[in-house]
Symmetry: C2
Subunit: 172 residues, 2 copies
Amino acid sequence: MADTPVFRRRYSCRRFARTTLHRTMLEQVLEAAVWAPSAGNLQPWRFIVVTSDELKERLAAAAHQEFVAEAPVVIVVCAVPGESARRYGERGRSLYSLQDTAAATQNILLAAAELGLGSCWVGAFEERAAATALGLSPAWRPVALVPVGHPLETATARERRPMQDVVLFRSG
Amino acid sequence: MADTPVFRRRYSCRRFARTTLHRTMLEQVLEAAVWAPSAGNLQPWRFIVVTSDELKERLAAAAHQEFVAEAPVVIVVCAVPGESARRYGERGRSLYSLQDTAAATQNILLAAAELGLGSCWVGAFEERAAATALGLSPAWRPVALVPVGHPLETATARERRPMQDVVLFRSG
């Protein structure tokens, strides 16, 4: 397993131990997030590190997924579309700011996996309910909830389509 | 440097040697791409591996960035928004399919960096010109051009905002 690339070791973890997340581990995960690439290096993102039980419950309710509240930490990834739009217009708002925050989210998941932590990319949630719970600026759009913690299960990523169904070659 | 996490070692490479990319390296990069997470594991993506000089020139023209043609390989990451929309409606089309393909793109960049290869996420390009050059199905949307190859330069990622400007804590 040590030779399995981290891209493949990462899986969606939905059962977490109540163990606190060490500060240094959290820092490494956040460090990975901020080193994601972004269009024009604008970094149109904010990361809200939620450890309050009450707020985690409200995020779980916004996602209709109770396990979200069971992780010691939920990182709420927010896009700031206006920051991208100022330089890149509509393409910045509706594409780059979403891609940039998705790259940061993926870094979070991979850094967590490298540390032996479990995490899950939760994209299905009521954005307004999450924003209200956290008192977010209207300029910030929550685009992913990422519970992170020590896994209570070991699982593997679900199967993938065969490579030849999604990869095409154009060699001229 | 060996201890520097790959998230931080990755940088935008814009000068490539003409050396061919070994097949096994290309396969590892593509493998990383397809193991990215996606909403409902729908994998609403296609990866076009372009090695034809003529097509690389047309992609470079679509991006107004000549260096794109200089890499031995350009991976064109395409979203298939309709595949996400079928299950998730408008949120699938305008959010999940973009996030999923961005996560796959980030995996490509990181896998390349792990292999000592250079790559660059090119998001600014004329989608229609790229789609026409490649003869893409109208259902596929090209969302990133990723030149990959052996780097002719060693650089580092650009600076980032201070952590405290983008990370907030909600501990209740």
